[in-house]
């Protein structure tokens, strides 16, 4: 009978074997194709056939519209587009791995928040020349720029802003949208007076979505990042979180709410304001029993601290980038066509309510006549800015670090000043990595 006890000798042997395993794994990885270190993924850049990687090809609502664009291109150009898709939540990690491994080529759909992380890999082509031909809006063009280089052509450009239920506002006697944070707070108190379990503002209070605090911090004057210096922890950020906590304690915002909960509350007529992307209107209205809710939804310019301040909103959108290598030229032409051809972008808008990123597209009657989209573009997207943390590959961890500290404040586990100081320190540490 053998004994199963592990002696010092055995432990050392295991350690040696473990080290050998790591070395073996490293050797195997080293034997892998050199795609990871090259800036191009190889192949004929002039090839007519190319790949298109897109999460929209997975999504029930978007898939037919994207497939239609692809089919039209294939027919017109007599070429073949190989489609690749990953779920949205796994998209960035899968793309990073496969772009680095040399498997991903051609056109690539990107969330504008990911552009910095992907561009840093050095695998994306410079699309500056193509961008000049597109007739994109200024804000659209900026959404595809990283480190001064145009890596993405804007497919749709919007923002994450406040949406109001006009029926509830009317019921509470609020005739005008609040302009300042003070007016906003007063409006929330009026709405609270309606009773019936109404949450005046279904703001994010769960860690998963507490990144929504950033525009409020900016509203209170915090820049988040000043050059290389993290400014979270300054007086403005502390004021913003103190105010958020005040709303929470006064039950003007509810505990444990994320985007899905907020949509559910809003859909049931139990929330007067909530934050969402422009496309959220469709999702919220679709799950509501009240079929007139869509008409009652209004975009609201985020209240400012002092009259005359610039309203803050987080830029949101999709771009199409192109990987260097196989089919690069055709993929660039396709990206330009999909994002700037008037008929294509307007039809895309009609199907998915995703606003075009071109001036011509926005001016098209089919888009302009949509009051919600036009109002959103003029009132919210116009002054929206990207997050300064998008340029870092650790963006998700940064958002989580801040969110956890804000939540600690909301549940009474930390004071705003201490929590923001700690959040700023954690963000600075993450950036240094």
């Amino acid at each position: 009978m053998t004994t199963s006890g592990i002696s010092r000798r055995s432990a050392l042997r295991m350690f040696g074997i473990g080290a050998l395993g790591v070395a073996g794994a490293g050797t195997l990885a080293a034997c892998a194709p050199s795609g990871g270190s090259s800036s191009s993924n190889g192949g004929d850049t002039k090839a007519k056939d190319f790949a298109f990687t897109s999460w929209s090809l997975n999504e029930e609502a978007a898939k037919p519209a994207v497939e239609k664009i692809i089919a039209a291109w294939e027919k017109a150009e007599k070429s073949k587009i190989r489609t690749v898709s990953y779920p949205y939540n796994e998209y960035l990690s899968q793309l990073t791995l496969k772009l680095g491994g040399g498997e991903t080529t051609g056109a690539v759909q990107l969330d504008i928040a990911w552009l910095g992380a992907v561009a840093q890999m050095g695998k994306l082509a410079d699309l500056s020349a193509a961008a000049k031909k597109g007739g994109y809006t200024d804000v659209g063009v900026k959404s595809g720029v990283y480190d001064g280089v145009q890596y993405g052509l804007p497919w749709t450009t919007g923002s994450i802003g406040l949406i109001a239920n006009s029926k509830l506002l009317e019921k509470a006697g609020i005739t005008e949208h609040p302009k300042t944070t003070e007016e906003f707070e007063a409006a929330l108190r009026e709405l609270k007076g309606l009773g019936g379990g109404v949450v005046p503002y279904a703001a994010a209070t769960k860690v998963a979505q507490l990144k929504d605090i950033f525009p409020w911090m900016q509203t209170f004057g915090c820049t988040l990042l000043d050059g290389d210096k993290v400014t979270i922890g300054d007086d403005a950020s502390v004021d913003a979180v103190t105010w958020y906590k005040k709303l929470h304690d006064a039950k003007l915002i509810a505990a444990d709410v994320d985007r899905f909960d907020a949509r559910a509350l809003f859909g049931q007529g139990k929330a007067a304001f909530y934050d969402d992307a422009i496309i959220g209107k469709g999702a919220t209205a679709a799950q509501s029993k009240d079929k007139t809710l869509a008409d009652a939804m209004q975009p609201v310019t985020r209240p400012v601290l002092t009259s005359g301040d610039t309203p803050r909103a987080l830029l949101w959108g999709h771009v199409i980038a192109v990987a260097k290598g196989e089919g690069q030229e055709a993929a660039t032409e396709f990206a330009l066509h999909a994002t700037s051809d008037r008929a294509t972008t307007v039809e895309y808008f009609e199907t998915l309510a995703l606003p075009p990123a071109t001036t011509q597209g926005l001016a098209d009657p089919k888009v302009k006549d949509d009051a919600f989209t036009t109002a959103w573009t003029e009132q919210i997207t116009k002054t929206a800015t990207g997050s300064p943390f998008w340029q870092f590959a650790q963006n998700a961890q940064i958002e989580e670090a801040v969110a956890k500290q804000v939540q600690a404040v909301l549940v009474g586990g930390a004071k705003p000043k201490d929590a923001m100081k700690q959040a700023g320190k954690e963000v600075a540490d993450l950036i240094k990595r």
Binding site: M1, R13, A32, A61, P87, G267
Partner: protein, 306 residues
């Protein structure tokens, strides 16, 4: 367990000393204690059982809900209206059937491969003494010590260089990487319980080592092999990240397939996702129901030796 018996006292002995009458209240107290402990035990079982079954119940309720009900806030434990449309919608999605077939193929091959290889390895570790045996055993165990994410990147680059990406082979090999060590150690434990005398007797009767393993040892270790196979099957069936990374849509299995189909950028189709999850878990549940006694037996077989 002990039982207490008492003889009834005659009427005229009612005035007997106190000590003679104590068995009745003591018995009553004993019975009360027994009832109390039973109630406590059943309450604990019910609470723990309810906690365990609540997610399954919630899965069922959501699968039978309309989108409006599923997103009701606060959520309701008992649905007010029931719909089967989420189940009927599954039949219209051909891609789900492809994912299901892929899962069956990949999980079955993983289970068979894991058991076959682990049987030989486990038998070798258990019944033979050779140089490097213990080191090899520890090497097998060491492969479990790496984080999956680390192995994913390595395996991805290796499969890519060998042109194996987007194939069943890549999925089976990667799943087997994780199932093998536990299968080997499980089966080694089971082989350890088989007396060496049995092997010696077979040898005296003229059986070769090959024959001894296949005709004598393997049938005795069958419950353990079934347990190891079931473990490997479930592991292969449930994997998400390897199936998503190493296979394309045509070869992907159910976990990444369901996520791709129902979880989007803006919306998650929870009722449909839950209905699909319920339906696709049926094969595993059925397999588990039939083979669970082997799983439990196989897991513990090597723990006690005679």
């Amino acid at each position: 367990m002990t039982t207490t018996t008492t003889t009834p006292l005659p009427r005229d002995e009612k005035a007997a000393p106190m000590a003679m009458t104590t068995p009745r209240p003591a018995r009553r107290r004993l019975r009360k204690d027994l009832v109390r402990s039973r109630i406590a035990a059943w309450s604990a079982v019910l609470v723990i059982g309810a906690l365990g079954m609540l997610p399954v119940y919630w899965l069922l309720v959501t699968a039978l809900s309309t989108p409006g009900q599923a997103f009701q806030f606060p959520p309701k434990l008992i649905p007010t209206e029931i719909t089967f449309s989420n189940f009927s919608a599954l039949a219209e999605n051909d891609q789900l059937f492809t994912y299901l077939v892929n899962s069956m193929i990949v999980a079955t091959i993983t289970a068979v491969l894991s058991v076959v290889v682990a049987t030989y390895m486990g038998y070798s570790f258990s019944k033979f003494r050779y140089r490097g045996r213990r080191s090899l055993m520890h090497l097998v165990l060491a492969s479990q010590m790496f984080p999956q994410a680390l192995l994913l990147v390595t395996l991805y680059t290796v499969f890519s260089s060998f042109g194996l990406l987007n194939t069943y082979t890549a999925l089976v090999l990667s799943f087997t990487t994780f199932t093998m060590p536990l299968c080997v150690w499980m089966l080694k434990g089971i082989f350890d319980t088989i007396p060496d005398a049995l092997l010696e007797a077979a040898s005296i009767d003229g059986a070769s080592r090959w024959r001894t393993l296949h005709s004598i040892v393997a049938p005795l270790a069958a419950p353990g092999m079934i347990a190891a196979g079931l473990f490997a099957f479930v592991r292969g069936w449930n994997d998400f990240i390897f199936a998503l990374t190493l296979a394309d849509k045509e070869k992907q299995t159910l976990p990444p397939g369901l996520v791709s189909t129902y979880i989007g950028e803006f919306q998650t189709a929870w009722p449909e996702l839950m209905a699909a999850s319920l339906v696709v878990s049926v094969p595993v549940v059925v397999a588990f129901m039939f083979l669970q006694r082997y799983l439990v037996g196989g897991m513990t077989a090597g723990s006690v030796k005679s």
